[in-house]
Symmetry: C2
Amino acid sequence: MAKKLTPRNEDYSKWYNEIVVDADLAQHSDVKGCMVIKPYGYAIWERMKDVLDGMFKETGHMNAYFPLFIPKSYLSKEADHVEGFAKECAVVTHYRLKNDTNGGGLVVDPDAKLDEELIVRPTSETIIWNTYRKWIQSYRDLPLLINQWANVVRWEMRTRLFLRTTEFLWQEGHTAHETEQEAKEETRQMLEIYAKFTEGWMAMPVIKGNKTESERFAGALDTLCIEAMMQDGKALQAGTSHFLGQNFARAFDVKFATKEGKQELVWATSWGVSTRLMGALVMTHSDDAGLVLPPKLAPIEVVIVPIYKGQEQMDEIVAKCKEIESELRGAGIRVKLDADDSKRSGWKFAEYELKGVPLRLAVGPRDLEKNSCELARRDTRTKSFEPLEGIAEAIKTLLDTIQSDLYTSASERLASNTVEVDNWDDFKEQVNNGQFVMAHWDGTSETEDLISQETKASIRCLPFDGDLTPGSCIKTGNPSARRVLFAKAY
Amino acid sequence: MAKKLTPRNEDYSKWYNEIVVDADLAQHSDVKGCMVIKPYGYAIWERMKDVLDGMFKETGHMNAYFPLFIPKSYLSKEADHVEGFAKECAVVTHYRLKNDTNGGGLVVDPDAKLDEELIVRPTSETIIWNTYRKWIQSYRDLPLLINQWANVVRWEMRTRLFLRTTEFLWQEGHTAHETEQEAKEETRQMLEIYAKFTEGWMAMPVIKGNKTESERFAGALDTLCIEAMMQDGKALQAGTSHFLGQNFARAFDVKFATKEGKQELVWATSWGVSTRLMGALVMTHSDDAGLVLPPKLAPIEVVIVPIYKGQEQMDEIVAKCKEIESELRGAGIRVKLDADDSKRSGWKFAEYELKGVPLRLAVGPRDLEKNSCELARRDTRTKSFEPLEGIAEAIKTLLDTIQSDLYTSASERLASNTVEVDNWDDFKEQVNNGQFVMAHWDGTSETEDLISQETKASIRCLPFDGDLTPGSCIKTGNPSARRVLFAKAY
């Protein structure tokens, strides 16, 4: 049985690392900053991928695949973009190793030096827009709606499993449009899809809004984001959608013939979510006993555990459990029967709690007599007895209830920890207490920096549905057009 | 409309390159040796992935994800392995770029040199077995059945789209077992799954067998493979499954406690197929008019083209086409209605032929009167008229027929171009004529090399169900245990 986790109120960060490793989601590899995503963690990511991929396709996007390597010169073509990524990239300089003639073992072969270094993609705007130049000639080729599922590398000095790793998995959408308006609508549409996914599947409420200029994606004219509140009150940026204007079209000379025969630069968007969502999922619902997973993303929704003494009871009860298993599977429920006789049921209970299986169904000798079973909810840790007659329907209903309860509970936490503040001392106290603070800001990057340096809180976004009443900046007292969202963040 | 393809009998290799690009499967990128997989090509690859992934999961495998980078020292731990891969790998030496202080633009920052170089994975045995050491303690942890979908990089000097590219996409299975027997069974099971996939979905017959020692995977004790015959008579290795013995367990010190409490080295397998299958698919079925796709892998199984003159006919016929579209979609058929009025139907016919859509359904004014339609098969380019009453069922049957006809036709080509040869002059002539030649071989690497140098034909495999009668080596006359398969190969 797994060791007990550090309680959250003792050390939230330690609890997080332990749960990710102990619940078999991921672990650090020996390669600095790179993680191994373990089968159980990957199964959750696969479910996320499938759902998102379906949503992208429903809205007309197709998947494609572009090279892992980006020539150094491509990065330089968009000035802000290179500024944002050059300092944290893995550089391929050679294409061969050889045995050292002086017995130094395997060494880089100096004769195999590349003429131009290749960068392992930190994001693919440059390589993709270089390709789009060949794909786009006329308005008939637009809109071009493409997504890529890929690995990317950003060299990070301080890493945390899922939240910040040198290599991570993600999807990056890259679209090309005839008009500014259409590109802006796409930017917004994709953010809404991300919000629909995090709220509907991850049971994680988010605040949608615009980033400030200083927090924009390198090369974007506008960055939209969804921000979620973790259990410790910190914000986590869960997805971004960028309106790129004509910056990349200009840098890579991508023009199209309009209906009127004029040559114009193409309008662009890009948008992405990553394995970071796995970290967000953990820190939204889990507790001191382990992972809590929303049913819609759980690789196993129900685990069946037989309870018995002796061979005869075992045979009878396991047979009944197999019946239940096949009934539930037939009803489309993801179910696992754990009939491993070498492990005690107490061990199993703890194991599946740690792994966040939403429902545990136990059948013992008395249940067999009564044709019933014990259902234990992972989220509330409450138990109930249910007749086996009609169990599949009862479980489906219960799974829906769990999904919606998780969302409600996370929403209440977000609501009750979001405050409006108009006083600098209160501001410092509230952001320190892990609150989402709606406060006035004078709109300058200087003030933004000042506040961030003094409080470690940053502007998470200008919420779409925030308070638009003017006021005075919380720090400088200068005029402010609206309240913005401040919080400490991952 | 796309330009005409070079006919196959004029220049097969040129035809191949043109069809891959013109049918929107893939194209070369500006990054040497790396390809862009275009949306239509990627959609076929996605179908391949989905089917294979389902087969892997049905046999108990789970997906996981391991780092892209492999420390140089890991590669060196298995002697044959490093020998096989060191000469063709991308080496990351630095983790930062900077602006040259002398105005030379963006340069590698010499202060950001890695202590140990990282290799972009050419295959993941080393990084995975280094991880397995932590995952495997006892027989209870075995078997460990893991698969990874990933990109890999092998630096190639001469590349061809899908067939040989510096970066490619693949799956790599890596399993760990208690016994030699179990690992060998796994090796064989996965090869059988590959054959089931290529034959059942790609409609591509394969010859299953063992590789010779010199053709084995670097680090394997035995390599099983499936070999397919392309239209030009060349062989293409479509998948491999390796029995690795205890080589990687020894190199990475992976031991387990047996039931009896002894410490033993773990037995291993690895197996993979890649985007190379896309090339095999093209060269198995396609013709001078373009791609021919087996229905089971076609992103679009049926394209509906309305034929009309004038607005009134158009409205009526397009409405009928929409009805048919929704009926077919409801029946689970992947269907596309192309009602784009800006393109002529002749253009559409050629376009969907080029893209290999298995069936074209056309509705014109007369069809409307008779409540019928014209169906055109892509594979045979034959047409028939069908009543619209019950069209979904008729189409399903026809798609099954096409799938099975494609397999039959490829099987007949394989059978009629496979010969037994017992004379050196005949041998040279037959391998030159693009035949699969079953001939005797004395079992030595020297003879294998000699034959290959003189004829460019290599031993593709020792077929599992080949002729086991002894004889005399085709080249040396020395005793031979059995016939083996020779052919020129991609």
